[in-house]
């Protein structure tokens, strides 16, 4: 069925996997994607991509799916269908509180006390790759992007006001001083948690 569909939609140069690949990308990107970016990544003509996107969007509607593919200003994104809004709202409202994992708490601690800080630096302090955890913290609204490092160009992160609220603080300067919780002999610490000497 998918092969027929793709053949009927794209032009001769569109491979049968285009439909599938577009769906996969749209399902996980965390912001709208333009036809141009999609076409470049897939190394295909923009109009083949656009036609397939429009076809997919129509198909989701025809099949009465709970999700919808729509083009907004910056590009295409998967949305929930308006008819399902009540159910989604109910689900979100009734949802249980989310407990953070130890890894998430530790990552958040590094961001809180080192902000603004890049993902690479957070990973260096914790000794493990923190990219996935950082992404989760952004989704949870606990940390957010804070521009780029002027030297390295790396994306920087800081904590949000929601983070302060959840911790019961009014401002960042109410965060307890870290010194009493550090061993006496590590005053020469640099940002990576290593001794500078």
């Amino acid at each position: 069925m998918s092969a027929e569909h793709a053949a009927g939609v794209g032009d001769v140069s569109a491979p049968p996997t285009l439909r599938r690949d577009l769906e996969a990308v749209l399902m996980v990107v965390d912001q709208p994607v333009s036809e141009y970016d999609l076409a470049r990544a897939l190394d295909l003509p923009v109009d083949a991509v656009t036609r397939t996107l429009e076809e997919l969007s129509r198909e989701y509607t025809e099949q009465g799916r709970g999700f919808d593919l729509r083009a907004v200003a910056e590009g295409w994104r998967v949305y929930t269908r308006p008819e399902c809004a009540d159910v989604v709202e109910h689900f979100l409202r009734e949802g249980q509180e989310v407990r953070l994992t130890q890894a998430a708490l530790e990552t958040m601690a590094v961001v809180a006390y080192r902000q603004p800080v890049s993902r690479g630096r957070v990973s260096a302090v914790r000794g493990v790759n923190c990219d996935g955890v950082m992404r989760t913290l952004v989704l949870r609204g606990l940390i957010e992007e804070a521009g780029h490092d002027s030297e390295s160009g790396a994306l920087l992160y800081r904590t949000t006001s929601y983070f302060l609220e959840r911790l019961g603080l009014r401002a960042l300067d109410e965060l307890p001083d870290l010194a009493p919780f550090l061993p006496d002999d590590i005053e020469g610490l640099d940002d990576t948690g290593e001794h500078t000497q």
């Binding site: 996969a24 399902m27 996980v28 990107v29 965390d30 912001q31 998967v78 949305y79 929930t80 809004a85 989604v88 709202e89 979100l92 409202r93 949802g95 249980q96 509180e97 989310v98 407990r99 953070l100 708490l105 530790e106 601690a109 590094v110 809180a112 006390y113 302090v125 914790r126 000794g127 992404r135 989760t136 952004v138 989704l139 949870r140 609204g141 606990l142 929601y162 959840r166 911790l167 019961g168 603080l169 109410e174 965060l175 307890p176 001083d177 870290l178 009493p180 919780f181 550090l182 061993p183 590590i186 610490l189 948690g193 290593e194 001794h195």
Partner: protein
Amino acid sequence: MAADQEAHPPPEETGEGDPHAFQVHLDNFEGPFDLLLALISKHKLDITEVALSRVTDEFIAHIRDYGEEWDLDQASNFLLVAATLLDLKAARLLPRGDVEDEADLALLEARDLLFARLLQYRAYKEVAAVMSERMAAQGRRYARAVPLEERFASLRPEVFLRLGPREFAALAGRVFTPKEPPSVPVTHIHQTRTSVKEQGELVVAALREHGTLTFTELTEGCTGTFEVVARFLALLELYRASNVGFDQPEPLGALSVTWTGGEGEVRVETDYDDAVDEEEGR
């Protein structure tokens, strides 16, 4: 991902030894069981007695190659396995027909235990490979985790921090505290290095002076298992050359050793000596 795999090649699979690959990854062995398994698979052998006797020398050679890079935990684990392997090898040096006393039975038990642990380790190693494949396959799937649409943003489920500000700071303190691995000085280990030849000379001198001594007396001055093993091996060599006689009246009783060699020069030569001599000379 493929490039990653090349950069960190897993140790060989059992049964598919590639001698060249083995040479390259010599330093990647994690623990004595890992090394033993690799040595066995290098020779395409099953885990049998034959396998153990053939890999013993290479095992010892590998330990030597590590030089001073060991940490205490690793070194002691390797030494434990090495001692067992040496015991097994020593048992084969005994004259035939003399395999039924308690010491031999103990060696057989040690061998069985080593086999059992090796087999168990191999099982986990193989199942780890299955897990690795599963994780690699699952890693190719990306979960949908995207920000909530604006209309739902305010309905986001609350995050439960379970920490107050002070607890949070304490957690941060732990994260920022450098994780220096606990270190134990290992220099003293190297002082116990010795050779069968060196210990053999001490044994010969002591037996010439006293005529008969128990094994306990012969090993009284030893500073570690290493020296005890070396003296034991030296005695086996002396026995093979008819320079000493053993008497053990009852199982597990005291073993007395009597000098039966002449006055001439006695050299204790074993196949371990070359190896150890090289190291001493380094």
